[in-house]
């Protein structure tokens, strides 16, 4: 992470006499093993392994991703190079599949293995329909039990043995705040090793130090082990020098380093006078440019380098030699070497097409469970390149799921952009230390998420030369038309669209379409549209400034900012500009005569989001449309007697929705599969964790819409467990807010007083018709409708009941209150007229505070009697009552979604219920007798039930983490239907269950 400048830093930046000495070192690989080709491959095409003889060296020292030089002379590479794709065996080198080496030149072909770990692509091989990575790696558990990603710090660390010393201690590992990581597990151990180091402070620390006493290049390895058992080795370099063995001296560097946001990295240009060591530099050599820096004048002159990463402050840049320009005349000759950061290699290496699909249970390389952009990038970098070996991969941390990630035959860089930028507007960047960062641009981050550090507060005295700031007053973009999808935990998407500033484009500027994005919900989509609009129409164009200081603390990557105020008196236009500014380009130039390092930046002003509104999705019933008028009153509908409300499939019900206290809503669309073959996934699209974790009521309407509710009292709108009603058009769709405390207070004219959501009921006979109650401390208000068209029925019921049960059947709504003195209100079909009232002690018994209706009949069970544990039944929607029809129904105290705690089949004959004694019980005789469900385990938690359309088919879930299915009403041992549930919630606390399809 960028480091915020300290007072000492600023004192040095503002001191006189700043100067630097510049050095460059090129890695000349060490020979690890030599051999000669034993037999010429049958073809030069698609060679993936070769045989060798006359080996010299220790074969065990040949490691994966080292390089094989192939030449006609010992140590030569004129025939080509290849990557060691896996450790060799006696007589055989396994190389990355390639066709570029001519093995048929005749004579002895020399093979030299060197320790040059570089950026390579790994080829995909398809044998029939089977995909192999890197020629022969078959798919097994790579996408469920992930390999760790070593984050070991900059590619090169440079240390100097000072005069009079015999050793130097160098810092290894990543900067503070960063560690190796792994999907779905944690890092257990680190094991550092370096054959040429004197010692380590610790070989198991994340960031140890190491002592060296030998000049030259050293290779440091770190074996990272994850708790899931997977391991991964990363490689980094250490370069040690002293005054007697200096690195190359830079002769001229008119433009030493350019780090550019658009380029995604840095490049360096070094001009050397002819010197013998230049001839030793191999093509594509790893290069590090570094400096000795001085601050302060006179006796205060101090040698210190200032940078963000401890122990690596002296590094100017790291890259590979990818080109050169040779100049000579009769008096002199020079070589201008072009050093490019690894982004350039990744742009020039074309990878095989990479494609991934969201799949809960992966079976092939193209399947990825719970796929995010980070997971897709990991797959690309780990299995299509050698990047994970040689550089840090700092992921986005973005948790949005994506249904697919695909990139055609393109450069590795373009493939990363395809995965990251086109979905979440994150860009890959490689900093001057060779570390890969994939980040969302600062200007596209919501204000609250702009947590990147402000490295420095620039003052006028920090700048030299002149400041140039262009300003544009007409918008370039008149409207941002943004669209994208929210993908749920099952890989299903639902679309959203936003306009910024709104439906009407601004006065100037074209329409900017930004589509196919991954979104979180409508609110986020609107915010993002506003962010894009603001960025595109930033009135302040990039500002060029030249720093007075040799300031290398401020860089372009990762995300960071500076502040700078242009005072009104400085601005010829007379107004002040105070902003955070984002570094977009950094240029270092060096004057070898004076030792002056000049630092220039192009800065872009931060923007704040523009206005944005919800857009219209053609052909959808999105809430983007104006609210629909209230629904007309429904005529009485025929009673369904007996039976369920939908077809019953063979096997178990296909679709079941549960609620888990931590993970929220979890859906299974293959519930009828064999035991433990069920694939569960979260479907919380559009909900915050605070919302989906506090759901206590779920309703599925006839047309498949899902309502989730938190009943109870609402006191503080900001509280995570505030009251709410959300609706999704289907299970897996994105939820939209229908009601919360703020809107409920308005409806009940409650001011800032608490308001309760009593409960919600629905009419199972029509597509979508619901009734819910709000209680303001003295009365119920009733609201009826669907979607965002709920209207006040006008009926008010004065009561002290805060909560209630609501059901519809045989043309009437019934509400029962939750007070000990039981009450029952019978309403008309449109819920606008109170037809009758029943209550304790005449009709209902004390404590019968819940009711459940038998299908859509007018028969109702009244339960939850904590006085004598009996149940009652009414008929004719409260016309007659039969008390004490059953006994021993010991109610639990749990009230949330009590409809799952006392459940009947469509006939009313079969009842499954919780009991405070064992948490489970059943009746097969209309409630007359209740027995324990012995085939369900005692869990210490309530069992909750859902009927699956027939008298025999039921689903039972427990807070203890069980999901069972029975097709004989628990007469035999039910089927364990947890499937992959434990991978979502290791200790699932299930609080609700709904069968969505029978």
């Amino acid at each position: 992470m960028p480091r915020i400048s300290t007072g000492d830093d600023i004192d040095r930046f503002r001191s006189d006499g700043q100067a630097s000495k510049l050095h460059a070192a090129f890695f000349i690989p060490h020979t690890i093993y030599t051999a000669v080709l034993a037999s010429v491959p049958a073809s030069t095409d698609m060679v993936a392994q070769i045989s060798f003889t006359s080996g010299s060296g220790t074969l065990a020292n040949v490691k994966q991703d080292m390089v094989l030089w192939v030449g006609t002379t010992s140590g030569g590479q004129e025939l080509g190079i290849a990557r060691i794709r896996k450790v060799p065996i006696a007589g055989t080198f396994y190389i990355g599949e390639q066709s570029a080496i001519n093995w048929n030149v005749g004579g002895t072909i020399y093979l030299t293995i060197v320790d040059d770990f570089d950026m390579w692509k790994k080829h995909v091989r398809i044998d029939g329909t089977t995909i192999y990575m890197d020629y022969d790696i078959a798919f097994s558990d790579q996408h469920t039990v992930f390999s760790p990603v070593p984050v070991l710090g900059p590619i090169v660390t440079v240390g100097k043995i000072e005069a009079g010393d015999t050793t130097v201690t160098v810092q290894l590992g990543p900067e503070t705040g960063y560690t190796s990581w792994v999907f779905g597990s944690t890092i257990s151990t680190y094991l550092w090793s370096c054959a040429t180091a004197v010692s380590f402070s610790s070989t198991s620390n994340i960031r140890p130090t190491a002592v060296f006493d030998t000049i030259g290049w050293h290779l440091v390895y770190c074996l990272v082990t994850a708790a899931n058992g997977k391991t991964r080795t990363g490689v980094r370099y250490v370069y040690i020098w002293d005054d007697d063995n200096p690195p190359l001296s830079v002769f001229q560097t008119p433009e030493l380093l350019t780090e550019d946001n658009k380029a995604g990295g840095c490049n360096m240009s070094l001009v050397f006078a002819a010197q013998a060591s230049l001839a030793e530099i191999p093509d594509r050599a790893l290069c590090v440019v570094f400096s000795e820096d001085y601050y302060g004048e006179g006796d205060a002159q101090e040698k210190i380098s200032i940078g963000a990463v401890t122990g690596r402050e002296n590094i100017i840049g790291i890259g590979r030699l990818i080109g050169e320009s040779l100049t000579y005349d009769d008096e002199s000759k020079t070589a201008s070497l072009e050093i490019q950061g690894y982004q350039e290699l990744m742009k020039r290496i074309n990878g095989f097409p990479a494609g991934l699909l969201f799949k809960i249970t992966p079976a092939v390389w193209t399947d990825m469970p719970a796929m995010t952009v980070d997971r897709a990038l990991f797959h690309l970098l780990e299995y299509h390149t050698t990047a994970i070996t040689i550089m840090d991969f700092n992921r986005t941390g973005d948790t949005r799921y994506t249904a697919k990630a695909f990139s055609p035959f393109a450069s590795i860089w373009e493939q990363m952009q395809e995965f990251a930028y086109k979905q979440i507007l994150a860009n890959p960047r490689i900093d001057h230390l060779g570390r890969l960062w994939v980040e969302i641009d600062p200007l596209l981050l919501p204000i609250a998420s702009r947590t990147y550090p402000v490295v420095l507060e620039l003052e006028d005295s920090d700048l030299t030369g002149r400041v140039e700031l262009p300003r544009e007053v007409l918008n370039e973009v008149g409207q941002v038309d943004l669209s994208g999808v929210v993908v749920d935990g099952g890989g299903n998407g639902v679309g959203f669209r936003s306009f910024s500033p709104g439906h009407i484009p601004d006065r100037t500027g074209a329409v900017e379409v930004s589509d196919r994005l991954l979104l979180t919900d409508q609110t986020q989509a609107n915010e993002l549209a506003g962010l894009i609009n603001a960025q595109k129409n930033n009135p302040y164009k990039p500002m060029r400034v030249k720093l007075r200081a040799n300031n290398r603390l401020l860089t372009c990557f990762p995300n960071q900012a500076v502040t700078y105020t242009i005072t009104a008196d400085k601005n010829p236009r007379g107004f002040a500009i105070t902003k955070n500014w984002i570094p977009r380009q950094r240029k270092l130039s060096y004057d070898s005569e004076t030792g002056v390092m000049e630092v220039e930046f192009i800065l872009e002003a931060e923007t704040i989001p523009a206005l944005a509104v919800t857009g219209d999705i053609p052909g959808s019933d999105s809430f983007a449309f104006p609210p629909l008028p209230g629904l007309p009153s429904l005529p009485p509908l025929p009673v369904i007697l007996p039976g369920g409300t939908g077809p019953v499939t063979d096997g178990g019900p296909p679709s079941v929705l549960v609620h888990e206290a931590g993970a929220g809503l979890i859906l299974c669309n293959n519930f009828g599969a064999d035991e433990n073959e069920q694939e569960w996934y979260t479907v919380n699209g559009g909900l915050s964790s605070g919302v989906y974790q506090s759901i206590n009521r779920i309703v599925k309407t006839k047309n498949g819409a899902i309502y989730i509710i938190r009943c109870g009292g609402g006191y503080t709108p900001s509280a995570a467990k505030d009251i709410f009603i959300y609706r999704a058009p289907y299970a897996g769709g994105s939820f939209e807010l229908i009601e919360d405390l703020i809107s409920a207070r308005i409806k009940m004219s409650a001011g800032s007083n608490p308001v309760w959501i009593g409960n919600i009921g629905f009419n199972p006979l029509v597509d979508e018709d619901l009734l819910y109650t709000l209680w303001d401390g003295s009365q119920f208000g009733l609201f009826k409708g669907a979607g965002d068209s709920f209207v006040d029925t006008g009926l008010v019921i004065a009561t002290g009941d805060t909560a209630c049960s609501i059901s519809y059947g045989n043309g009437k709504w019934v509400i029962t209150g939750n007070s000990f003195s039981s009450k029952m209100w019978i309403l008309s079909a449109d819920a606008s007229t109170l037809l009758d009232t029943k209550q304790y002690p005449t009709d209902l018994k004390a404590g019968e505070t819940r009711h459940v209706r038998i299908s859509t009949t007018d028969k109702i069970y009244h339960y939850h009697n904590s006085v004598d544990n009996t149940i009652s039944q009414s008929e004719g929607n409260g016309t007659t009552f039969t008390q004490d029809i059953g006994d021993d129904y010991v109610p639990s105290e749990t009230v949330n979604d009590s409809e799952t705690l006392f459940v009947t089949d469509p006939t009313g004959q079969y009842i499954a219920t919780d009991r405070a004694t064992t948490g489970k019980g059943k009746s097969t005789d209309f409630g007359a007798t209740l027995v324990d469900i012995s085939n369900l385990p005692f869990t210490g938690h309530n069992w909750r039930f859902a009927n699956a359309g027939t008298t025999a088919r039921w689903v039972a879930v427990s807070g203890g983490g069980y999901i069972y299915y029975t097709d004989d009403f628990f007469a035999s041992a039910p089927m364990d239907a947890r499937g992959n549930l434990l991978s979502i919630a290791p200790i699932p606390a299930l609080t609700n269950v709904r069968v969505l399809e029978y």
Partner: protein, 141 residues
């Protein structure tokens, strides 16, 4: 190592090869050069109107006339090159409590005159050595 005197020194190693001009030329009355010292190699004019010195200090030693035998002794440090890293002790622009300019020791890039020298009899006129990239060394106490 004894503390350095307030006079000019030059050499390749502070411990083993760092001598006064008297010692170097094996005389007792070596002529001190006309020394200049610039604390900065360049300067910046800043946006707020201030000016800051940048770059390494620079120094020169100039003799109006330098005997060729002395030049030959000096030239041994360069061994034909135009620049070599050397240690020098030279006058700075700062004053001590007696208002005398103080000496300081530096590691530097010592530059041999790049152009032809004005040879007159057995001496060179206007002989000037340039020292840049001056890095201050700790004083011996």
């Amino acid at each position: 190592m004894a503390p350095w005197s307030s006079t000019f020194y030059i050499g390749t190693d502070l411990d083993t090869d760092f001598d006064t001009l008297n010692t170097l030329f094996e005389v007792s009355d070596a002529i001190d050069p006309d020394a200049t010292f610039s604390p900065f190699a360049a300067f910046n004019d800043n946006i707020d109107g201030s000016r800051s010195g940048i770059g390494f200090p620079m120094a020169t030693w100039k003799w109006a006339a330098r005997q060729d035998t002395r030049i030959e002794i000096l030239q041994a440090f360069w061994d034909g090159a135009l620049s070599v890293p050397l240690y020098i002790r030279t006058l700075t622009n700062r004053l001590d409590i007696y208002n005398a300019r103080i000496y300081r020791t530096f590691l530097c890039q010592a530059l041999w005159p790049p152009k032809g020298e004005d040879k007159q009899a057995s001496a060179t006129l206007g002989f000037e050595l340039e020292f840049r990239h001056l890095i201050l060394q700790d004083e011996i106490t």
